[in-house]
């Protein structure tokens, strides 16, 4: 399993319980707060790293040290993850992880809810917990993983993520229980194509990108705007223009009781699974525009493609934390390990009907700051 250490950003090796670079606990069950301890001297006054407090401020000049989580990358060739703080938020509350086992993949992306306490911890521990469960599922079964097994693994992963999120402390007199969105994919590759299960809560999304480059949203946002559209109360344009548009209606965290994750099963030919937070899809809200942006930002490698997509979000305003995780199953197929020829292009079979509009929506100058908020449950 490959995962960035939430403490220092170092990519940890398979099954590591501790980060070899900084010693941070990686098993996702620890209640320790994620610190931004650094081993570098102060960026402002060059005071030694020992003078820098656990919260990232220099004990000499007070300068805030860059947070390793501001920008993290994981590169496993055919699986990548890139996350960035963006330009407006003071910290990166997104987190992501990827795991590859014998050509099978799992991706997890979480987006901390800014209107709660310690959301950056919630997203990190939830991600860690979920990816660990998914990895175990992929690794543990030597034979065929059926769709039902993937479903079971996904449910278990979401359960573990929820439990992990509960371990994050609130702040005295704070804003509310640490919470985050969740989206994950677990996919098995076979001669017949890809069998996948997607699970999510909130407005982080999963897409299937087929070999022709067509993006299809597999998830359906648990957001105020989308609920209005689903209920037929508003058009997507009307809903998107409302200031409550981004308010999410499901999440992980202490007050998420009764908020069920949604799962979809899919079979594909060959292509990519792409997970992202709203930091990206805000600038490419529908399938057409996502298709266009992915085509426009293809790089030489999967990592550069993911980097380009994140940069696209930054150049479009960088209003929110942005995370992209991709599993390109076509790359596995090309490696000598997988001898199976590329399957015939097939039409992806999303479980939910993706909404589509005609043209790419470009962010306007007057766009309101996206703030992650939860629906008030009370």
């Amino acid at each position: 399993m490959a995962m960035a250490c939430p403490n220092c950003g170092e990519v940890a090796v398979d099954g590591a319980q501790w980060c070899e670079a900084c010693g941070a606990d990686l098993d996702g069950t620890a209640e320790t707060a994620l610190s931004t301890a650094s081993s570098s001297p102060c960026i402002s006054c060059a005071a030694p790293s020992t003078d820098i407090a656990a919260d990232g401020y220099c004990g000499h000049c007070g300068a805030k040290q860059p947070d390793p989580r501001d920008h993290l990358e994981v590169d496993l060739g055919w699986l990548v993850m890139v996350t960035d703080r963006g330009k407006r938020h003071h910290q990166n509350e997104d987190f992501g992880a990827v795991v590859a086992v014998d050509g099978n993949s799992a991706l997890v992306v979480c987006d901390g809810v800014s209107s709660t306490d310690n959301p950056e911890q919630a997203s990190a521990v939830a991600t860690e917990a979920a990816i660990a469960v998914l990895e175990q599922a992929l690794r543990g079964s030597d034979a065929d993983l059926q769709q039902a097994d993937l479903q079971q693994a996904m449910s278990a992963a979401i359960g573990a993520a929820q439990e992990a999120a509960l371990t994050v402390p609130t702040k005295p007199g704070g804003k509310g229980s640490p919470s985050c969105t969740f989206v994950a994919s677990v996919a098995r590759a076979s001669d017949d194509g890809i069998t996948a299960t997607i699970g999510w809560l909130g407005d982080s999304r999963a897409y299937w990108i087929d070999e022709a480059g067509q993006a299809t949203q597999l998830t359906s946002d648990h957001s105020w705007a989308n609920e209005q559209v689903r209920a037929g109360a508003m058009t997507s344009e009307q809903a998107a223009a409302d200031r409550r548009a981004h308010t999410i209606t499901r999440w992980l965290g202490d007050d998420a009781d009764g908020l069920e994750a949604e799962l979809v099963d899919s079979q594909f030919g060959n292509g990519w699974l792409l997970l992202c937070t709203d930091g990206l899809w805000n600038y490419a809200p529908d399938d057409a525009s996502m298709t266009t942006q992915i085509a426009a930002h293809r790089g030489d490698t999967l990592l550069t493609t993911a980097q380009n997509l994140v940069n696209f979000a930054l150049e479009s305003g960088g209003h929110d934390n942005t995370t992209v995780a991709i599993a390109d199953h076509t790359l596995v197929a090309e490696t000598p390990v997988a001898e199976t020829p590329v399957a015939e292009p097939a039409v992806p079979v999303p479980a939910s009907t993706p909404t589509s509009t005609d043209e790419a929506v470009v962010t306007s100058e007057n766009e309101t700051e996206p703030v992650d908020e939860k629906r008030d449950l009370s």
Partner: protein
Amino acid sequence: MTDFRADVFQNEYLPDGGDVVDAVVTVTASGGDGTVAAAAAGQERVEVIVIDCSGSMNEDGGAKIRAARQATMTAIDTLSDGTLFAVVAGVDGAYALYPQQAGSVERASAQTKAQAKEVVSQVRAKGGTAIGTWLLAAGGIFNSVPNSINHCILLTDGKNQSESDRALNTAISQCVGLFQCDARGLGTDWNIDELRRISTALLGTVDIIPSPDQMEAEFRALTEAAMGKEVGDVALRLWTPQGSNLEFVKQVAPNIDDLTPKGVPVKALTNDYPLGAWSGDESRDYHVRIRIPVGSVGEERLGARVMLVIDGVEQPSALVRAIWTDDEVLSTRINREVAHYTGQAELADVIADGLAARQAGDGDTATMKLGRAVQLAHEAGNGDTVKLLEKVVDVEDPATGTVRLKRQVEDADAMALDVRSTRTVRVNKQ
């Protein structure tokens, strides 16, 4: 178990080139039972009552000394059993009333309280006023008990006539950090500045007791408050960055008290400001202003790290931050708490200036200053302060601060306005 918490209220955004960081720190103690003696294990509570027995206490046909006796007996009755206590008579020197031996204490019980009250009931007024000697006598008593929560009630009806001002100052400085002192002036013949110096240095309060019949209630309230103190030693610890200047740290609620000169360096870039004893259920506000080296736009620096030191143990901190931005919407946002207490500090200042001008016969300045005071107090909702001001000026329009000085003002009213001018109201929590 009393828990302490510090919360910071500020606008952390500074404009390009900005170097002044303002923050209000609310320190809250909670979880104590708030009323009964519940001092930390191993900590004694010591109460010393100093009553003025100078000759002037015989005025008004002996009403003052009779009231002082009664008030002191009530205070003794209010002591929680187990409290260590002593009663001192203050004249040209200080005399132990109870227990008889100077520099000692007795443990409160039904029996010792009765003995003490018997002694107090017979005390006579005769002699001068040397408040410094009273403080030193109290200090000697507190020094006889190690590691204790120390509180003193000091009553005088006159000025410090029997010793030099320097002697008083020396005595005050010797008592700093040893005990907390609430000073009360009976009638109008005492000197506000003298008692304020004592209460400020010794982390207590100062107030006027206009007439003898109000003394008993006041002594009871003071003693009850003292019995409610559960944590004897609290300090505000401030770390400020290299190259910065802590312009001030002031208590701003429940009353204004400049702590800046009381800072004690504890380690590099770090000073402690003593906050005295706390009950298990109270909250106070502090205004901190720091001038820090200018950072570039987009940079974030710590303006201060705010810690609490509870009985010598440092607690986790709250942060005063500075983030430079070119977004004027952010940098011009005014923090409600900071604005409120800036106004409250101005209110205290204009009252002091207005009363001084009035005293000096400068009616125009007095009218202007006190008018501004009425306006500020009205805006901030200081109803009590408005009432005090109305005893000194006739208010025509509180919104604009249009006032006229009253021709006839009772001395007690002017003094009450003076001593209570530093009392503040808190920000309305929305």
